[in-house]
C-alpha cells in the first residue's frame, strides 16, 4: 500500500511539474504544450485520430499476423527436419541481424509508398523475431518428455504434434508479445517514410505545422493502443498456458502418528 502511494506520488510530481512549467509560461508551448492544449487537441480532432489509428492498426495487425505465422511455420519446419534446417538456417542467420528500419529505403524504392511496403516492413520484423524464437523453443523442449513419449510407443510425427507443439506454447507466447510491441514501432516508422494516412502520417504533418500538442496526442494514442494489445495477449497467455502456473501443492498429506526422536536419543546417550 505504501509502495503504491509512493508510485502514485512520483506520477503526480511529474504531472505537477508539467502543469507548473506550461501554465506558468516558463516554457514556450511550441516545445511543451500544457494540459489544456492537449485536451483541446483531443476534443477537436478525435475523429481524425480514430480513423488514423484505424489505418495504422489494420496494417500493423496484417503485418503482425502474416509475419508471425510465417515465422512460426518456418521455425517449426526448420526444427522438424535437419535437411530443411541446413538449407534455411544460413538464410535466416543472414537476415536476422538486419535492423528492420534499415530496409525502409529499399522497400520504398521497390514498391513505392503505400500500404504494401508498410505491411511488408512489419512482416519482416515479426517474422525474424518469431522464426528465431520458434527454433529456439523447439530445441529447448526437455528431452525427458520426448523420451517418455517414445517409450510409450509414439513415433516422430505424433511426438511433434502432441509433445513439441504444446511444450513450446509458453515460450512462443512470450515472443508474440515482443513481436506485437515491435510491430507498433515498425508501422509508425513506416508511415513516417511515406504514407497518406495513419497515425504516423498525422505525426509527420503535425511536425510540419509545428503542432507539438498534436504530436504528443499521437504518441499517447499509439502508446495506449500498444498497452491494450499487450493486455489482450497476456489474457490469452494466461488461458493458453494455465498449466505452467505454480499452484500451492495439494500435498501428500497423510495423518501420521507423531514419533519422538528425543526419547530415543536420550536413551542411547544413557547407555553409552
Amino acid at each position: 500500500m505504501r509502495m503504491r502511494l509512493l508510485s502514485l506520488g512520483s506520477l503526480l510530481v511529474v504531472a505537477l511539474v508539467w502543469a507548473g512549467l506550461t501554465l506558468g509560461g516558463v516554457v514556450d508551448k511550441l516545445f511543451l504544450p500544457g494540459p489544456q492544449d492537449i485536451a483541446a487537441v483531443v476534443g477537436e480532432s478525435w475523429r481524425d485520430l480514430l480513423s488514423g489509428l484505424g489505418f495504422t492498426l489494420t496494417r500493423q495487425v496484417a503485418g503482425f499476423l502474416i509475419g508471425s505465422l510465417l515465422g512460426i511455420g518456418l521455425g517449426l519446419l526448420m526444427a522438424s527436419s535437419r535437411t530443411v534446417n541446413a538449407v534455411l538456417d544460413p538464410l535466416v542467420e543472414l537476415i536476422r541481424p538486419i535492423p528492420p528500419l534499415a530496409i525502409i529505403p529499399l522497400l520504398i524504392l521497390w514498391l513505392g509508398i503505400g500500404a504494401v511496403p508498410q505491411v511488408l516492413l512489419v512482416v519482416f520484423g515479426c517474422f525474424v523475431i518469431m522464426v528465431v524464437s520458434t527454433v529456439e523453443a523447439v530445441r529447448n523442449v526437455p528431452r525427458i518428455y520426448l523420451n517418455a513419449a517414445r517409450t510409450l510407443g509414439a513415433g516422430g510425427p505424433r511426438i511433434y504434434r502432441t509433445v513439441v507443439m504444446p511444450a513450446i506454447v509458453p515460450a512462443l507466447v512470450g515472443s508474440v508479445r515482443v513481436a506485437a510491441a515491435a510491430s507498433f514501432g515498425l508501422v509508425v516508422a513506416a508511415e513516417f517514410m511515406g504514407a497518406q494516412e495513419g497515425i504516423g502520417y498525422q505525426m509527420i504533418l503535425a511536425q510540419r505545422y509545428l503542432r507539438t500538442d498534436q504530436i504528443i496526442v499521437c504518441i499517447a494514442v499509439i502508446t495506449v493502443t500498444a498497452w491494450l494489445v499487450d493486455q489482450v495477449i497476456r489474457r490469452l497467455e494466461r488461458r493458453l498456458t494455465g498449466w505452467t502456473e505454480r499452484h500451492v501443492g495439494a500435498g501428500d498429506a497423510r495423518p501420521r502418528t507423531k514419533a519422538t526422536v528425543a526419547g530415543t536419543a536420550a536413551a542411547i546417550k544413557e547407555n553409552s
Binding site: 523420451n147 517418455a148 517409450t151 510407443g153 498449466w243 505452467t244 495439494a250 501428500d252
Partner: protein, 255 residues
Amino acid sequence: MTDGTLSISALTKTFAKGSTTVTALENVNVEIGAGEFVAVVGSSGCGKSTLLNILAGLDRQTSGQVLVGGRPVGGPGPDRAMVFQSDAAFPWLTVTENLEYGLKVQGRSAAERKRVVGELLPLLGLEQFAHSYPRELSGGMRKRIDIGRAYAVEPEILLMDEPFGALDVVTREHMQDELLRIWSARRSTVVFITHDIDEAIMLSDRIVMLSPRPGRVREIVDVPFDRPRTPELRESADFYRLRTDLRRMMGEAVR
C-alpha cells in the same frame, strides 16, 4: 507382444569423449525372468542409467545383446514402459490425459481408455485429481502419474530409473510401499535402478550390484524376504544385516 523375460548378454557400451573412449558398461550378463522384480544398484558413474536406456531402446549398446522375450531390442516400445527420475508427466495434460497418452498412441477406443483410466486412478490414489494438472500436485503424486502412465499400456516390462530419487525420505518410503501395492495388483517384470540400498532390498527379488568405471556386475544377491512386504520390514534385524553387508560391498566396489 513379448513374454516379459529379459536376457542381457556380454553387453558393453563405450562413449567417445574427445579423443579418449570411456567404458560405461563392460561385459554385463543378467537373466531376468517374467514377473521378476530386479533392482540394479551401484554408486554414481557405474552405468546403471546407461544400462536402462539400452534396455528401453533409447540408447544402443556398443556390443553384446539384449533380448526381450527372446527378440532383440530394435528401439523404444510400449512393451517396455519407462519411469524416469525427474518428472516426466506432461505438464500441459491433466492426470487423466497423461494416463491416456500411451493408449491413444495405440489407437484404443475412448470407451477402453476410460475403462483403463477408471481402474488406474483408484489404484494410484489419484481419483480426486483426475482433472488436475501435474503442477497442482505434490512430487509424490506426480510420480504416481508417471507410474500410472507406464502401467496404462500394460507393459510386460517396467523400467524404472531412480524414480524416487528426487523425493524426500518420508515420501520415498511411502511411494515404495505404494509401488509394491500397485505391482502386486499388476505383476510385470520390473528393472529398478537405484543407489539406495534400503530401497533395493525393500522392493526387489534380486539385487544386481554394479561396480563403477567401468560398470561391471559385482554381485547378484537374492533378497530373502517373503511377499507381501510391509513397512515394518524396514525395521527388522534381518533387513539391517542384509543392508549392512550390501553397503560394505558397495563401498568395496567404489574403491
